[in-house]
Each structure stands twice: as C-alpha cells, then as structure tokens.
C-alpha cells in the first residue's frame, strides 16, 4: 500500500507514525507545505519569547526520525488532487500516485479586508517565517498593535509582552477570547493585562493601516482612534486550507467533510486536523475544533482506517488552556451551558480565581476556570466520561473548588477489587 499524507503538522506526523506502527511494509510519503522540518505552530510563541530556539519547535526531536521510520518527507505544497487517477500534483509540477490519501493541510490565517494589510511591518503569526519577521520588528519599547484577542491572539499577546514591546490589543468582540471564556472570565483577563501595561481595546475594528509619523505605521480604528505601530500582528482567525481541493470532487464545507471513520466522500481519501470537520463530542455534530489534541485524535483514527483497521470516532472534546501573562485560564466542552441545566460558580476576581461548571442533569458538560492549574484535566475526564455525579453535583454547586474530590469519588464508584484507580471513557 502506498499512503500519501498532505501536511506535516501534528496530524500529518501522527498519521505517518501510526501507519508505520500498524503497517510495517507500507510505503509512506509525508508532504509538507513549507520548507521546514515538521514543526509545531503552537511552539512559535515560545520561540518568540526566547524560551526555545527553532529546533525546539520541531515536532520530533531525534535526528533522522522520519528516515528511521521509513517515512519519506518531501516538500510540496500539493496544489491539486486527481481522485480519478488517484494522484496529487505538487507546486513544482511533479505528481505522486497513492492508494490512500490523508488531507491534513491545516489552516491559514484569515486576512481581514483592511486597507494597508500588505504594508511592510504587518504580519500574521502563523509560520516560522512569520516568527523570524516578527522577531526582527518587535524591538523592546517599540509600539506594537495586535489585531485580534481570540485564543491565538492571546497566546501571541503573552510573547509580545514578554518581548518588552509597548503593546496594544484591538479586539472586535466585547471581551478577550469571546469564544473560549464568558464575560466574567474574559474581563478578568482584560483587567489582568491592563494591570501589566497592555492596552486592551474591545468592540473596535481596524479601518486602515497607513504610514505614520510617531512610528513607521499608524493603525486607524473605525471609531477614529489612531495607534502608532512599529509592527502590526494580525490574529483574526484561521480558515481551513481546502482551496486546492476545488474541482476534485472531495466534499467540503468550512473544512473537509468526513464520516466517523474520517474518510471523505471519496473512498480511500481521509482528512484530519484543522482542515477536517470531525465530530464534536459535545454536540454529536461535525464541527471545526482546531486544537492540537483533536488534530492528533483525528490523525490516529484516520491512520488506523487507512491501514484497514476499522475505527470509528466518537467525537472530540473542545478545550483550551491559556496563560495570559501568568493568569491561567481553561475551558472545556459546553462551557456556556444549556437551557434547563444547572450551574456552579465561584468568582474571586481579587484573587484571580473563577470556576464555572455547567451541568445537564447530574453530568458535567462544560467548564471554565481562571487561576486553576491543579488537576485541571479532571474536568475533561468528568465531561468526557459523562459519569453521573450523584450527590457530588450539589457538593460542587455549594463549593466548586471540590472538583478533584468529586472526580476521585465518582471514578471510584462501581465494582472495587484490587486496583482502585480511575475509570475513564476515552475516545477511540
């Protein structure tokens, strides 16, 4: 069997390794879209702040990792897929045939319709190349405008602030990370940032980026404000890389459509990661959950199916964790709650602490936290298992800090003999 994998991010690399594990004799080619070793975009903020070098962003650290596994790694990108001839064409004109194909081409930053977006000094923060350019421009004390305070924006915020720039964040929504945290938590983040000399402007949109007098650039907001900037970083969301599939017959929506086996409408062609519309465990519907753990889950399931090991995906849990200048927040599942559900809330803004738990019946379905780092994964465990909380639901409503106790107590229910560790429902 000849397996071809498009995209060398976490999904592509995990899929290649998984295929190798289950199909020792298969031929595997991994095609990257950038002229870099397979690396992790998630590590870029830490590269910017100098915590790691470029080597530290690489997905696998051992020399010759891919060669040792017999995975051919080559540079693409692939520009088209011929589902009839079962081949792909790369940008250099070369073609490759395949028996099975995995589309794991990830996503690309959205370029909002802003005048002057192509000016020098305006960058997205997505690739290693972007990181190199931002490092050049983000000099200590220089004014920098970050457009977008969503999840990715907030991660970049942290590294820009640590680089010592004079930072202003402009967000279209009414709060920071509006798709991850509620108003209380989002505003806690805002006040925390403001306390550390980061200006946060919400409900604001950029109209134009022009050359400035106080700095190289001037960012003009729609409300008339003008912000000087030596560097503008754009983080206004991403969209799936599916353009190259136009006309291929592979069905797409916001991303590539897949069935529970992560196979597309074309037999033998699969999709995984940020490019795929996989199942959201919370809703049961197909959805874009563009996070690292989900990319890896998708890839593993797709790879097993590509090897002929039929494996159905139950769904992935949406979750995020964010460190905003030392204030740590997380959210899981249906954090906004459901109608008719119950809620447990603890708010202590002065102490930088917030816990909101959402229940449906006596099961936990969503959670968000600020200032909680101990055993935070137990929230995933409780949501994903859907285990009934019984009496612990009311105990949590009375004191939401008792999450870990509730978890251990609930996991210990059931037949006990010998080992009494946790029982957790895990996705396939």
């Amino acid at each position: 069997m000849y397996h071809v994998i498009l995209g060398a991010g976490p999904a592509g690399v995990t899929a290649a390794e998984t295929i190798r594990k289950h199909a020792p004799d298969a031929e595997i080619t991994l095609i990257g879209g950038e002229g870099e070793p397979p690396y992790s975009r998630m590590a870029i903020p830490y590269l910017l702040e100098g915590k790691i070098g470029e080597d530290g962003t690489h997905l696998r650290q051992e020399d010759g990792h891919y060669e040792t596994l017999g995975i051919a790694y080559r540079h693409g990108p692939v520009i088209s897929v011929d589902t009839g001839a079962r081949s792909v064409t790369c940008a250099d004109g070369s073609t490759l045939g395949f028996d099975t194909l995995l589309i794991a081409t990830g996503a690309t930053p959205i370029r909002p319709p802003i005048e002057g977006l192509d000016s020098p000094g305006v960058h997205t923060c997505w690739t290693l190349e972007d990181a190199r350019r931002i490092t050049e421009h983000a000099q200590k004390g220089e004014p920098v405008v970050l457009v977008g305070a969503g999840f990715i924006g907030c991660i970049i915020l942290e590294s820009l602030a640590k680089m010592g720039v004079d930072l202003t964040v402009v967000e279209r929504g009414d709060r920071m990370v509006p798709r991850m945290l509620d108003e209380t938590a989002g505003n806690m983040l805002r006040h925390w940032c403001e306390g550390q000399d980061v200006r946060v402007i919400t409900e604001a949109e950029v109209d134009a980026i022009r050359s400035g007098d106080r700095a190289a650039l001037a960012v003009h907001l729609k409300d008339g404000q003008t912000l000087p900037a030596a560097l503008v970083v754009i983080a206004t969301g991403v969209r799936s890389n599916i353009g190259f599939l136009d006309g291929s017959g592979i069905e797409t929506g916001a991303g590539v459509k897949v069935d529970p086996y992560h196979e597309t409408n074309v037999p033998g062609i699969y999709a995984a990661g940020d490019v795929a519309e996989g199942i959201n465990l919370s809703t049961g519907h197909n959805d874009m959950l563009a996070i690292q753990p989900v990319a890896v889950e998708h890839a593993y399931i797709a790879a097993l199916n590509m090897c002929g090991i039929a494996t159905e995906h139950r769904g992935s849990l949406n979750m995020n964790v964010l460190d905003t200048l030392g204030l740590i927040s997380s959210s899981f599942g249906t954090w906004e709650g459901v109608e008719g559900g119950d809620r447990a809330v603890l708010t202590d803004e002065a102490a930088g602490r917030y816990i909101r738990l959402e229940f449906e019946g006596d099961r936990l379905i969503g959670a968000q936290t600020v200032g909680l780092t101990d055993h935070v994964g137990m929230l995933r465990g409780l949501i994903q298992t859907g285990l009934p909380l019984g009496a612990w639901k009311n105990k949590l409503i009375d004191s939401p800090t008792r999450i870990a106790e509730a978890y251990v107590a609930v996991m210990q229910q059931g037949p006990v003999s010998g080992y009494t560790g946790p029982k957790v429902a895990l996705p396939a």
Binding site: I52, Q61, I291, L304, M319, D374, H375, R380, Y419, G421
Partner: protein, 163 residues
Amino acid sequence: MQKALTIDPGKCTGCKQCEMACSYVNEGEFNVSKSRIRVFDFHEEARFVPYTCTQCDEAWCQQACPVNAITTNEMGVKVVHDNLCVGCKVCTIACPFGTVNYNASTGKVIKCDLCGGDPACAAACPTDAITFQDVEQGGFDKMRQWAARTTAGTEPSGPNAPA
C-alpha cells in the same frame, strides 16, 4: 518485568507522608502542593485515597504535547523533559485523569515519573497502601480493563488504542 505503583486506599490512613516524600525528592522542599501524588480526604466516609499518574499505555499527555517533551522510557514511564517543555499546558487539560500539573515557579509541567524507578511515595508509606510491584502482581491488567470500561462499555483504553 515492568513495575507499577499499586494503591490500596483501604490501607491509607491519610498521613500524607507520600506527598511530603514526593515533594522532597522531586522539588527539594516539603511543599505538598508540588507533590505528584495526592491523598484525597473523604472525611464524611473516613476514607483516604492516594492518587497519581497510572502511566497510561498510550498516554494522552504524550500525544497532546506539541514539542515531543513527554516520552516513554524503557520502564513504560511517561517522562517530561524539562529542556523541551515550553510550558504550554496542553497536556494538563488533555490528561483526563488530571495528573499532569503546571508548576508556575519553573514554567514547566510536572507529573509522576516513578522517581526513576524507586518511587519515594511507596518507600515512605508506612501502611503499604502504596507499593511498587511487578505489574502482574499489582493487578495491572485489571487496572487496564477498568480503564477500558466506560459508560458506553465499548471504548478502548487510551487515546490511541484501536477498537
């Protein structure tokens, strides 16, 4: 033969010497908030439950790490490499057992690594509630079966276990 921590909550008296020993051996200080093992105190039932990482076969934390900073050693133990960990904390939310924690003072995550093969918690436990045993004797298979059993009853144990 692989060895594993075996925990018998029925023998635990809640003395928390395991937490002290873990913190001292791994952090050089008696700070139980940095212990990799925790004893949960269910005082309404007069019951104590020591709790730590079970070293999953195919570990969620390891799969979720974006920079390969968690690897499996020859004893099957999932080990965090501080030189590679960037402190992104994705493993802390990915581990559904909640046994990877962020340590703000180092900017890295911490988890049980069985102290390199001589776990201080087991050595410190005065009642054998925590023992370090050969996996066959420790009911390890039973533990795996348990991990596999779920509300739906069909899911495998681990992010990467095939159906």
